[in-house]
Amino acid sequence: MLSTAVHLANSTPSQLLPSREMMAFTLASHILLVPFGVALPFITLVMHYRALRRNDPVALKLARRWSAVMAVQFAIGVVTGTVLSFEFGLLWPGMMGRWGDVFGLGFGVEAWAFFLEAVMIAVYLYGWRRLKPWTHFWLAVPLPLAAVMGAFGIIAANAWMNTPRGFTLDAQGVPVDVDVRKAVFTPMFGPEYWHFVVAMFMTAGYVVAGVYAVGWLRGRRDRYHKLGFTVPFTIAAILTPVQFFLGDNAARAVFHKQPVKFAAMEIVWKTDTHVPEYVFGRLNADGTIAGGIKIPQLDSILAGFRPDTKVTGLTSVPAADRPTPTEATIVHFAFDIMATIGSVLILLALWYAWIWWRHRDLPLNRLFFRVAAIAGAACLVTVECGWVTTEVGRQPWIVYNNMRVSEAVTHTQAAGIWATLGVVIAVYVAVFGSFLAVVLKMRTRWRIADEAAAGTLAPVDPEVDTPYGPRGAPDPAAVGAATGSRSESGPSGGAR
């Protein structure tokens, strides 16, 4: 068994690299939309509740606009997610063929959760006009639950890949005696899941708040921007310290359950006690470290609260069973960027809390809003870094200590996969580009309408011939009720 493994590791198939790149690219793209799929419904519902409860038209406008964005974002999330399911078969048939029945159940849970999510989101997004306000609201309340449930399935699968169990191997290395409960609730599951869910809520909160922070910086300091900023930002700020704690917890779980990944995260070469912590820094092929800031003892202290904690090094396993020095450096950087951004965000949250406590109002400080405006983007970067830590840190294993990535990969020729990757990148750039363009267009339309309504609109540009102003029928209810058709154009208007 071991000798075949070593043999396989040495004969890296040429289609491995393009397959990994393709998986990484499509996942990294999909994951950018996931925070909004998971958490935007919740944030919108909070705003919606406020609107109904206090009869607040500004809050209602915000909730409606967010759900208009959600409609497009959800669709792109669905299609990029569907690609991932195909890729399991197209790129990693070996993994699915051998392990599908062991760890696939998580995806089964995910599928029905997505189903519920898709149904409820349809009702929510399209229910604004014809459902009773509170009915409409309550029908959407289970939505965040379904979203969190969907994340459950996916993280269960990923945690299983990190700490596989719930099976025994027979003489041929085929898994038998599958115990699904053990395979779903693996040791990494808890830490990974909570850390992930909170990351999603934080990210969505900071990104949405960031939009209004930019507006604020550009001088739009009305109630609309204030509300649009405060609600998501508060949610995210409350979660930030929680996330720090959960991240620390995840790191310690990795230390115990995936010691070699931990060694890569902290670029620890030899197993030792009193291990120093390197902030950034590169691992050379001979085990020396270049650059970075060295803090004596700290790594041992972080891992086990005592300087004499023993930390497993990369060299504790044969070279073929651990990340290469380059991979370890990537993991180390990803992890350090994540931890750095996480810490900076805590400062931001504390700043916010302090000002709120002192003034009971939003800070007037431009610097605060500048930082708040980029917090969302920073969170997206952090999410990518987190996944790089998880996935690259597991190399060369696709199923930790049980299957190598090279054993799982498809037999399709490398050239074909490279070509496909090219096509996929082109398609994704077009899709994400169009998506962004559409959302930015929506924002511009809203801004212009708001400015027109407030009477602050600059004189109309002479080149512009189309009159500004709200589009559509003045009384949607009347038209809608009469023909049941789209009010803005009636049955004769429409597509294309």
Partner: protein
């Protein structure tokens, strides 16, 4: 036995996707054929409206199919995805383009942009069912076995091509039937006849393809051919044909109330017939359900998950389809979100 149950769940979910997803693909098909910007305006308006609230839901069936395959029958999943690499890849790319094209078309307010997104959506709506159909054809013809390498003959054989074309025709049929009832629901009387005619034509295409397939697949997909021409397989083929003809007759006499159900029955029963014909094989004639089944414990849990899905998702689905058919689900308009027009908008 649990493996058989899961195999039937898989068939049922494939049938659900063929009907739910199929209706959507069909709508895309008619979008493609709706003509230029002016002539096609009204059909496209209807297609947009009818599809918007439910297409994502319809899409999830496909995910279910894949998950059931890899959790329930991992070896079969591996074999299918290895042997049919290219058509599956193209189907995956097709789903992205289709969904993205459709979702991005709606908020666009310029004709030129809408044309591009619309064209992407419509063409992908044609290609995706074709490739998925050809995958089914490849499996049914017995060309996929465990370890079959990817090669063109697995999906470019007579059975695959016919199955791909049949998939297009069947989705066009479903799409037209649904759109014709939707047209009535939205009070667009002229479109009722427009799609009624197209439904009948599409059914004609299905019949022609089936008649061609009968002799062609006799040798090419021997096992399934025999399964479909005798026993339970034949019974379900006859039932499917019965409902198909009933749909056409109902359309003729303008009894629109039942046509949706009969058209869905046509397609679903045809899929079930294929399930019977292929028994006991997952991959005719090399891998049986029992041989390809995953671990028994996993299958039991998968059955449980499927059951929970039925209990939870069933009512939710019923709710959304009901709200949708009652016209309760409508898109937010620019008035609702207070959006302004921009220079250059021309819709």
């Amino acid at each position: 036995m649990m493996a058989d149950t899961i195999a039937w769940v898989l068939i049922v979910v494939i049938a659900a996707y063929a009907c739910g997803g199929g209706t959507d693909y069909g709508a895309g098909f008619w979008d493609l054929l709706a003509g230029g910007a002016d002539r096609g305006k009204r059909p496209r308006w209807l297609i947009d409206r009818a599809m918007a609230p439910v297409w994502e839901v319809n899409n999830v069936w496909l995910i279910f199919v894949l998950i059931l395959m890899w959790t329930g029958f991992p070896t079969m999943f591996q074999a299918v995805f290895t042997a049919l690499w290219l058509p599956l890849l193209l189907a995956a790319v097709g789903t992205v383009l289709r969904g993205a094209g459709f979702a991005l078309r709606k908020p666009s307010r310029r004709i030129a942009r809408r044309r591009i997104f619309g064209a992407v959506f419509a063409i992908a709506s044609l290609l995706t069912p074709y490739f998925l159909g050809s995958v089914l054809g490849g499996v049914a013809s017995g060309r996929v076995a465990v370890g079959t390498p990817a090669s063109a003959h697995v999906w470019s054989n007579p059975t695959s091509i016919l199955a791909g074309l049949l998939a297009i025709a069947a989705t066009a049929f479903l799409g037209a039937v649904f759109l014709s009832t939707d047209a009535r629901r939205f009070g667009a009387e002229d479109l009722v006849d427009y799609f009624r005619l197209r439904a009948v034509l599409a059914f004609g295409a299905v019949v022609v393809l089936a008649v061609i397939a009968l002799p062609v697949t006799h040798h090419d997909a021997r096992y399934v051919w025999h399964g479909l021409t005798r026993g339970l397989g034949l019974l379900f083929v006859v039932l499917a044909a019965f409902f198909g003809v009933a749909t056409v007759l109902l359309l003729m006499v303008r009894a629109h109330r039942w046509t949706r159900y009969t058209s869905v029955a046509t397609v679903a029963l045809a899929v079930v017939a294929w399930g019977f014909a292929q028994r006991p094989y997952l991959l005719p004639t090399t891998l049986t359900v029992a041989q390809g089944a995953g671990a028994p414990h996993a299958l039991r849990w998968l059955g449980l998950v499927a059951l929970i899905a039925v209990v939870l998702v069933g009512p939710a689905l019923a709710l959304v389809y009901r709200l949708d058919t009652k016209g309760r689900l409508q898109e937010l308009t620019d008035t609702d979100t207070h959006a302004a027009g921009l220079p250059g908008d021309n819709l």
